[in-house]
Amino acid sequence: MKRKKIPMFLRFFALIPLLLLGGCNTEHFWLFNPKGPVAAANLYYMVVDVVIMSIVIVPTVIFTIWVISRYRASKKAHHDPKFSHSNGLEVLVWGIPIIIVGVLAFFSYEGTHAVNPWNPTVITKNPKYADTKPLEVDVVTTDWQWMFIYPKQHIAVANELVIPVHTPVHFRLTSTSVTNNFYIPQLVGQVYVMPGMRSKQSLVATHTGEYHGFSAALSGGGFSWMDFKTKAVSEADFNAWVEKVKQQGRRLAYPKFAAFAKPTVNLAGKVHYFSDVQPGLFAEVIKNVRDGKLQYATPMFLTENMDSKEFKQHSN
């Protein structure tokens, strides 16, 4: 039949997107461009994992394709209609996956400890960072903004994170409303930011530059705008920046924070600086969330209307 030709031709159409893999600009592949040891370790384990699996998957794919082309009925190849069991092959089909999974299990165990958010051994066991005094940052997410508190420096920044390079940064994270997910692809993997709980994360930036950070867990309407820039700067620049923020002189105590935590969409990408931050603010936020004293209900008209006029009323 003549018209049978068309679907054969269509098949090659299907392969076009594969070309993309070769042709793309690698600069945008954040996962392949780590700028710190934690993200680099993540990438390392990804490569190891893929390479080990390829050892079995590539031959399997080749074998399957070969079987499909070799044993089509038209080829009149050897047909063995009784062949359904072979002890040797059974050992092979169970043995290979067991060995591969065994090897991967070892790397998985090792990797879990290497990038454990509470105590990533790629940082804590690394002699390079043993003498560096770590920077502490407390992260609080609201609906739908980020507050980065530097407790030792008594400053705070909303929607922007500034860190010095080659210095371990230890985060304590919590949320005032719903669960968010702290994620800077080029520096560190994800960890949940949960209300009433304190999670931890650690990272080191090895290159100065600006990296994208965002929340990776759905938290409601303003979630897509929960971006923050992560600026990794030199030690000196960092100190200068701290001084600059300190001079702004806007005090951040709990009542002011509670006002900040009202549902707000960061449509305009605004950054706020605070100095003179109340000590123990982070713990007070957790305590109040746990006691049910810090909670803003999402207004009904916001969730029910199919129009973003009201949504914009809640933006900054």
């Binding site: 679907p7 076009i16 994620y183």
Partner: protein, 707 residues
């Protein structure tokens, strides 16, 4: 009221007053509403003008025939899949439109055409519908349709419960469709992330729709699971030992063991969340001793086994299709059975990998990581076994085989990315990113491919004619183009760091790939068109493609090919005796393909009943009343459900017997029809995927209970 509700409430109408306050000035909803009205009116008018109400009622709405229930399950699944696909189209176009701060916004949205909460509802509905109301019913439908014939049974163990399971699924689907127009749907993701689903953050009725529709649907699935397991254990034909059970029946068993034990856990998770929302308990709140990760935990105790609940039957399809078109028995039957059971067992020990990033200790994460990878062993075994089944075979490539091979390659890629996700060190980077989305769509597409393969494979058995091969191939290749165009860019975006559920895309570098994905959805749209044409052409040409042989493909192997095509409503005139693992292949080899028994016996069949339909209708109303907090209506319909069950329990007139002479007459007629001695145009009293015509036309000659 027990909790602080935003918005109005009154004792008679509950929260329905909300509808007056909230303005739906969105043309999309209006358009969808018009489509449903037009479609519904067209369907109802067709039924009315062709005078088919009686037929519809007798043959379909009150039937307890497992084949018809199976067909209806699949039909419900396909309709809901279309709805889920429209949701997917909206998501892909919104994301492609809303890139960067300068992107335009229309229809009241700031970017794209869907405001955030509308977009959130779209992806929540998409996820929930595709898994619970599309994949699950389609697979349960195939189990219903094929499995009882495969084990040589007349019907399921509990035909009445079978109908109840279907109609409860329909009630759940109806509730979701009602949510489209009356109120709104959940906007918290198909997993129902707490505390986002708690009343303060989801003050409307959307989450309540989500909770009750899943709750109703999962009761239906649990009932189905009880039925399918009991059928496999108790209803096998003589000689059908466990070692001879067809592989699809084995996978049905494995996946229903999962359904039976995991759906209750989902029920509990949703019930506790319901309590939080309705009476103000503190299970998943952040305050007053609640633990919000506990919901996630309970949800995934169900959720992960559920993934295998839908994938294992797909493996069963492959294990039926590949041997048939390789003209060889399945390689490593015992291994395949063990592998299915192993997947079912291990699936219960791995659920934390859905929230590695919760911050559990490295010990906990390592344990769940390694447990997850163990699933890779039986899955790898299955891939090897299928390859060795084709090895030294005599391969033909009609559409079922194409779908099966597509499915096999999807399993290989999906399995590989799954093993990547199982490693916490990698998972931290790609969790909640579109890499995960690409991975699990990859896996679900494997199921879709297998299910389309199964549709073409078993279509002639059920309807008596083959589907058109040309349009089937067009459908396959267009669908495959869609798969590649959507999911290769999606994997790529995952490596670029894009996360899921974004209604606004802040990074312009992602735009070209998002546009490619839209092209992919275009291919999917065309493929659906091709599918519709395929069905249309096949039905139009059904006489040309008529299959009269019991075995439509000539090389099939299991028992379902051993009865007439299409099977009469009693499946087998006389229960077959099984002698070998692939009984039909065995009989073919020994020249025993005559389907006509020497003598006939009385057949005992269940009678049609409307009770499942009535109970499900009350359940739907009860669910609606609970969503809108109309307590009196909820209480009244709940009481009505209990009363309907009690009344049914007093009904003793539930079965009838077909006398042997009548069976003989029907069998001879079927053979005459197959040999062309009766013109095909004549209306068939039996057949057509089965009877019920007989069941409803005649009065029972004998009751089951003579006490």
């Amino acid at each position: 009221m027990l909790v602080d509700l935003q918005g109005p409430w009154n004792p008679i109408f509950g929260r329905l007053g909300l509808l007056l306050e909230v303005h739906y000035n969105n043309p999309i909803i209006f358009f969808a509403f018009m489509m449903v009205v037009i479609g519904g009116t067209a369907a109802l008018s067709w039924v009315t003008f062709t005078g088919r109400w009686g037929w519809l009622w007798r043959e379909w709405l009150t039937t307890v025939d497992h084949k018809k229930l199976g067909i209806m399950y699949i039909l419900v699944g396909l309709v809901m899949m279309l709805r889920g696909f429209v949701d997917a189209l909206m998501m892909r176009t919104q994301q492609a439109m809303a890139v960067g701060p300068d992107s335009p916004g229309v229809l009241g949205a700031a970017h794209g055409y869907l405001p955030p909460y509308h977009f959130d509802q779209v992806f929540t509905a998409h996820g929930m519908i595709m898994i619970l109301l599309a994949a699950t019913p389609i697979l349960v439908g195939f189990m219903n349709l094929i499995m009882p014939i495969q084990i040589g049974a007349r019907d399921m163990a509990y035909p009445y419960l079978n109908a109840l399971g279907l109609w409860l699924t329909v009630a759940a689907a109806s509730l979701v469709m009602i949510a489209l127009f009356v109120g709104d749907f959940s906007h918290a993701g198909w997993v129902g992330l707490t505390p986002l689903t708690e009343l303060p953050y989801s003050p409307g009725v959307g989450v309540d729709y989500y909770l009750w529709s899943i709750q109703i649907g999962s009761i239906g699935t649990t009932i189905g699971a009880v039925n399918l397991i009991a059928t496999i254990i108790k209803m096998r034909a003589p000689g059908m030992t466990w070692g001879r059970l067809p592989i699809f029946t084995w996978t049905t068993l494995a996946s229903n063991i999962i359904a039976l034990t995991s759906f209750p856990v989902l029920g509990v998770a949703l019930a506790l969340l319901t309590l939080d929302r309705y009476i103000g308990t503190h299970f998943f709140t952040a305050d007053l001793g609640g633990n919000l990760m506990m919901y996630t935990n309970l949800f995934w105790i169900w959720g992960h086994p559920e993934v295998y609940f839908v994938v294992i039957p797909a493996f069963g399809f492959l294990s039926e299709i590949i041997p048939t078109f390789s003209e060889k028995p399945l390689f490593g039957y015992v291994t395949m059975v063990l592998a299915s059971m192993a997947i079912a067992g291990v699936s219960w020990t791995v659920w934390l990998h859905h929230f590695f990033t919760m911050g559990a200790s490295p010990g906990v994460n390592s344990y769940f990581s390694i447990a997850t990878m163990l699933v890779g062993i039986p899955t790898g075994v299955k891939v090897f076994n299928w390859a060795f089944t084709m090895w030294r075979g005599k391969l033909r490539f009609p559409t079922p085989m194409l779908w099966a091979i597509g499915s096999l390659f999807l399993l290989i890629t999906g399995g590989m990315t799954g093993m990547m996700l199982a490693v916490p060190a990698i998972n931290y980077l790609v969790h909640n990113s579109v890499f995960v989305i690409a991975h699990f769509h990859n896996m679900f597409l494997l199921i879709v491919y297998a299910a389309f393969g199964a549709t073409v494979y078993w279509w002639p058995k059920v309807f008596g004619f083959k589907l058109d091969e040309y349009w089937g191939k067009v459908f396959f290749w267009l669908f495959t183009a869609g798969t590649l165009f959507v999911f290769v860019p999606m994997y790529t975006l995952g490596f670029m760091g894009m996360t899921r559920r974004l209604d606004y895309i802040p990074h312009t570098s992602w735009e070209p790939l998002l546009l490619l994905e839209v092209i992919g959805t275009g291919f999917y749209l065309l493929s659906i068109l091709a599918f519709v044409i395929q069905l249309g052409v096949s039905i139009y040409n059904r006489e040309k493609n008529r299959v009269v042989a019991s075995d439509a493909w000539g090389t099939s192997r299991s028992v379902e090919w051993m009865t007439h095509t299409p099977p009469p409503f009693y499946n087998f005139a006389v229960t077959p005796v099984i002698h070998a693992r692939d009984e039909w292949a065995w009989r073919r080899e020994h020249g025993l393909t005559n389907l006509m028994p020497e003598k006939f016996l009385d057949i005992h069949m269940p009678k049609n009943t409307a009770v499942p339909l009535i109970i499900s209708f009350f359940t739907l109303v009860c669910g609606f009343a609970l969503v809108w907090r109309i307590w009196w209506l909820a209480a009244a319909t709940f009481a009505a459900i209990i009363i309907a069950m009690i009344i049914r329990s007093f009904d003793k007139d539930t079965d009838y017997i077909i006398p042997a002479a009548e069976v003989e007459r029907m069998e001879k007629e079927i053979v005459a029809r197959a040999e062309g001695r009766i013109p095909a145009g004549e209306p068939a009293p039996v057949g057509g995927g089965a009877g019920g015509a007989y069941a409803s036309k005649r009065t029972p000659t004998q009751r089951r209970d003579n006490d």
